[in-house]
């Protein structure tokens, strides 16, 4: 559990997982785009992307149905390309890859949401425009793939106006009146791999 100022919480509350990642990296709330956080944010995105590629490759029982195979194979290739690019960016940032989780069969959409959440967490606080733009572009790419996978599953391909990868609504309002108050936040991960941030008052 980290304690941050109320001003810091407003940023953290606004960015959800991004804020949790920020706090977890020990970043200063005075410079939320300090490059010192890049390795951790990129490593988290790479781990999620690697697991997504594996999830696509594993597929469900018996693998994808023939009409879906072309799409899934293209998603595997696209995911591997994104992972390669992230690996390069991570090395340039001086970071090391972390071990990706082994996905369960049939977990493609769950893993896609986890990957979207990782890109969303990185998009705001990464230190350069190129890195932030890459995170946004990769989030959009995975969102597009998720849309197709949802359609295959007979579900709404575009259910929400704000694609976060999380179940929680993306923003919690706060106002400047309480800007100097202290609060605490605790990042938690659900069984589905979703990161949430909870607030406690002192």
């Amino acid at each position: 559990m980290q304690t941050v100022s109320r001003r810091g919480f407003l940023v953290i509350g606004g960015t959800g997982a991004a804020g949790a990642a920020l706090a977890g990296c020990g970043g200063s709330v005075d410079d939320p785009r300090d490059e010192g956080r890049d390795p951790e944010l990129l490593a988290a995105a790479l781990a999620a992307e690697t697991a997504l590629g594996d999830a696509y490759a594993i597929g469900g029982e018996g693998g994808p149905a023939p009409p879906q195979r072309e799409a899934v194979e293209s998603f595997i290739a696209a995911s591997r390309r994104r992972a390669e690019e992230l690996t390069t960016l991570l090395e340039q940032a001086g970071g090391q890859p972390t071990k990706a989780a082994t996905p369960e069969p049939g977990s493609e959409r769950e893993q896609a949401n986890a990957t979207i959440a990782a890109y969303r967490a990185a998009a705001g606080p990464l230190s350069t425009e190129e890195l932030r733009g890459t995170a946004i572009a990769f989030l959009a790419a995975v969102a597009a793939e998720l849309s197709v996978m949802s359609e295959f599953a007979g579900e709404d391909p575009a259910p929400r106006p704000f694609v976060t990868g999380l179940e929680a609504e993306p923003y919690v309002a706060a106002d400047e009146d309480s800007a100097d108050e202290e609060t605490t936040t605790e990042a938690t991960t659900t069984a589905e791999g979703e990161q949430t941030t909870t607030e406690e008052q002192p």
């Binding site: 940023v11 960015t15 425009e129 946004i136 959009a140 575009a158 106006p161 609504e169 309002a173």
Partner: protein
């Protein structure tokens, strides 16, 4: 936190959820006091550009849902509502900064919505007016779908190229969330136009990738 502050915060949260699951207070600038500084104009420019595109998309989806293919009508109406949710959230942020809110076009001939708007440069204004004029000339369901697909591309390019540049962690994050939604809209529109699922997913991915600011650009 005092009871008064807590209730105000709760009211803001509820208002924000109603507006589109996003709150502007503490989002563009945490300790915003209403005063406008030089940096605020950069935030305004980003927000006005985004809102203008979103409001054009709302009009376009509404028009297409009324005049297009009835089979996809409910989907177009759902997408219209999602574009409106984006516009509402961004308008709330702009309002919090203390700037005037841009009018939404109410028809394809309502050119005043994109003329002489603070925050829109002449190139943006001309582009929006061209798109508005083009909307007025559409007739077949397929024409509408193609047009909507290009509008989604415009928005995806905007959020991927301008979202990383804006000096607000939260606005960049919001850009990512909206870009994800626009990419999903593109997939649905392209598959409706007959593209394979693989192609439909690859197209917005490429659009977004091509829009990423170059490495030599600023921090």
């Amino acid at each position: 936190m005092s009871g008064e502050a807590r209730s105000r915060r709760e009211a803001l949260r509820l208002a924000a959820l109603g507006a589109g699951a996003i709150a502007a207070a503490g989002f563009a600038r945490p300790a915003l006091a209403g005063a406008q500084a030089a940096g605020d104009e950069d935030l305004r420019d980003f927000l006005v550009g985004a809102i203008s595109l979103e409001q054009l998309a709302v009009l376009a989806y509404s028009t297409a849902a009324r005049q297009g293919d009835t089979d996809i009508g409910p989907t177009l109406e759902a997408f219209r509502d999602q574009e409106q949710a984006h516009a509402n959230a961004l308008r709330q942020a702009l309002d919090t900064l203390g700037f005037d809110l841009p009018d939404a076009p109410d028809s394809a001939t309502d050119t005043g919505a994109f003329e002489d708007v603070d925050g829109l440069d002449s190139e943006q204004s001309e582009r929006l007016l061209d798109l508005l004029d083009e909307l007025g000339g559409l007739s077949s369901p397929r024409q509408y779908l193609k047009y909507l697909g290009r509008l989604e591309d415009e928005q995806l390019t905007y959020y991927t190229s301008e979202g990383p540049v804006v000096d607000s962690v939260d606005l960049t994050t919001t850009s990512a969330e909206i870009a994800g939604c626009q990419a999903q809209h593109s997939v649905v529109l392209l598959t409706e136009l007959g593209r394979t699922e693989a192609d439909a997913a690859a197209a917005p991915a490429k659009t977004a990738r091509d829009a990423v600011p170059a490495a030599s650009s600023g921090q």
